[in-house]
């Protein structure tokens, strides 16, 4: 079974196109990063002159040679991969993301459903929600640090906000877009209000909950990294090396270890991908009727 699917994967041009694209990207990056070493100044000077003549300031021009090469990044990664501090950063960020995300689901789904089914809940809750929603989660960081007793709670709260609004909006929209016919059919067949909620509204909203949480998860990672950078990573918990991946990047920047910055960036990419895959799998599992489309 696994053998056949692997064989099919290796036989597929789509797979090899993907591999080729990644390899080409890495090669170009490596060449660009090494251009400082092998490119004679006389070779690129005319291009710079031309750009300066067009009115660009010499010092402002970007130079890909300033970016660490993928080989150097890999070396740096191998160096940190054995360190507990690096994995502690992973753990801290994952923990915050999960804390924020899970509480956003636990509060956001019932809240969104309440807004959808009850006119008075909508009347009371929605205006406040709509005023708070445009405030970017990062604008909450200072207030959050003042309000919450620990920095850990403060960061988790900000991540919570990142996912919360998206989840509520999706649940509300999803519940409201359920076709009227389903309600009419259920009502005709003798379903009570509770039955309609459980058997029509909940499953009818589920696809939107899945979409909302996927989007929310993405925002959560954006927010947690920025919050860790701003707040100094909640340093009293894990020490300087345990402040999460955002703090890992910031710390590398302050310490002048540019390879490590890229290591941190790619780590976040991988972490985000793993979370999305996890959610996709969960979504696939809870909405079996959508698999056939």
């Amino acid at each position: 079974m696994t053998g056949t699917s692997l064989r099919r994967l290796f036989a597929s041009p789509v797979f090899w196109r993907g591999v080729a694209s990644i390899v080409a990207f890495l090669v170009l990056w490596e060449l660009g990063a090494r251009s400082r070493q092998w490119m004679a100044p006389e070779f690129y000077a005319p291009f710079k002159e031309l750009l300066v003549a067009m009115g660009f300031k010499k010092d402002y021009l970007p130079w890909i040679g300033a970016v660490p090469a993928p080989s150097a990044v890999l070396k740096s990664w191998l160096a940190v991969i054995g360190q507990a501090g690096y994995w502690q950063s992973w753990y801290m960020s994952f923990f915050r993301v999960m804390a924020g995300f899970v509480s956003a689901m636990l509060i956001g789904i019932p809240f969104g459903l309440a807004l959808a089914v009850s006119r008075s809940a909508h009347g009371i809750g929605f205006p406040v929600f709509e005023v708070l929603r445009p405030i970017p989660p990062l604008a909450w960081v200072p207030a959050s640090i003042i309000f919450w007793p620990t920095q850990e709670l403060a960061i988790s709260f900000v991540t919570f906000l990142g996912a919360f609004y998206t989840i509520v909006i999706n649940v509300l929209g999803g519940a409201r877009s359920i076709d009227m016919r389903y309600f009419q059919a259920a009502q005709s067949m003798g379903a009570s209000r509770l039955d309609i909620f459980r058997r029509i509204i909940l499953p009818g909203t589920l696809p939107s909950i899945v979409v909302g949480s996927a989007v929310g998860m993405g925002i959560t990672w954006e927010v947690v990294v920025a919050a860790e950078m701003i707040s100094g990573g909640g340093s009293q918990i894990g020490g300087t090396s345990g402040g999460g991946l955002g703090f890992f990047i910031w710390n590398s920047y302050v310490g002048g270890s540019y390879e490590q910055i890229v290591v941190g960036m790619i780590s976040i990419g991988v972490a985000g991908y793993v979370s999305s895959e996890l959610l996709r799998w969960l979504g696939y599992y809870v909405t079996p009727w959508l698999r056939v489309r």
């Binding site: 059919a185 005709s188 067949m189 003798g190 009570s192 039955d195 058997r199 589920l206 909405t287 959508l290």
Partner: protein
Amino acid sequence: MDIRDPGPSAATRGRIVIDDVVKIYDPEGAAVMAVDHCTLDIEAGEICMIVGPSGCGKTTLLNAVAGFHEITSGRILMDGETLCSTEVPRAAPGPDRIVVFQNGALFPWKTNLENVIFGPVMQGRLGRNEAIDKGRAMMADAGLIGIEHNYPGEVSSGVRRRVEIVRALMNDPKVLLLDEPYRALDSLTKSVMHEALLEIYYKNRVTIFFITHDLEEAIFLGHRVAIMTTRPCKPKKVLAVNIPHPRDYGVLTSKRFRELIEETNEAVHEEALKAFQAGEKEG
């Protein structure tokens, strides 16, 4: 001439009387009259076909019987009991009047069998296991075998319609309200569906209130065909289809069938033209 061979006479329930019903949308603002003093007496166990151009107000009438919409005045009775009237403008929806919707309303998140047993389980008439047994039997009866555990999205639209009709019949309704259920089907599937519906009808003898804009469909299936005027809607001509049941597809090529089409085609075309012109005026 008794045209209601064995069908209606075998049924004792499900007579629908629509008595002088008026429906005006938005009585305060720009009032639009959708149904204009409509009177129609549908016998118990009759297949009554309602024919009219799209948007003529026939669905409004169906929704009033089902209890999804209010009426403005008049009354609708079922077996002598008032469903709705000027005083109580909206009937309570119930399992005795089940609608099969134009685009289908099977719950996509439930398997076909779960859909079929929904009604009796919700009403507490049958336990889950009894309902499953009955549902399987009724699906098998309608030729729906091997798709019980598929989701509606996994089967063809023709099969979905049949599942939905079985789901409706599981409620033991007095009246089936069909709102252009075969509109989206191709003509080959449609002809199969017509025979399947008649077969189900011969077994169950339930009153059928069937909305369509397809005159051939109407004459092939119905005991009577009510041709409606375009908005506001009321019967323009009620045709008794004196072709004996049970019918099969041979009927379509019979001389009598052609004559009936000819007899009614003009009335339908006239209304379609009016609806088209009205649409142009609005647009």
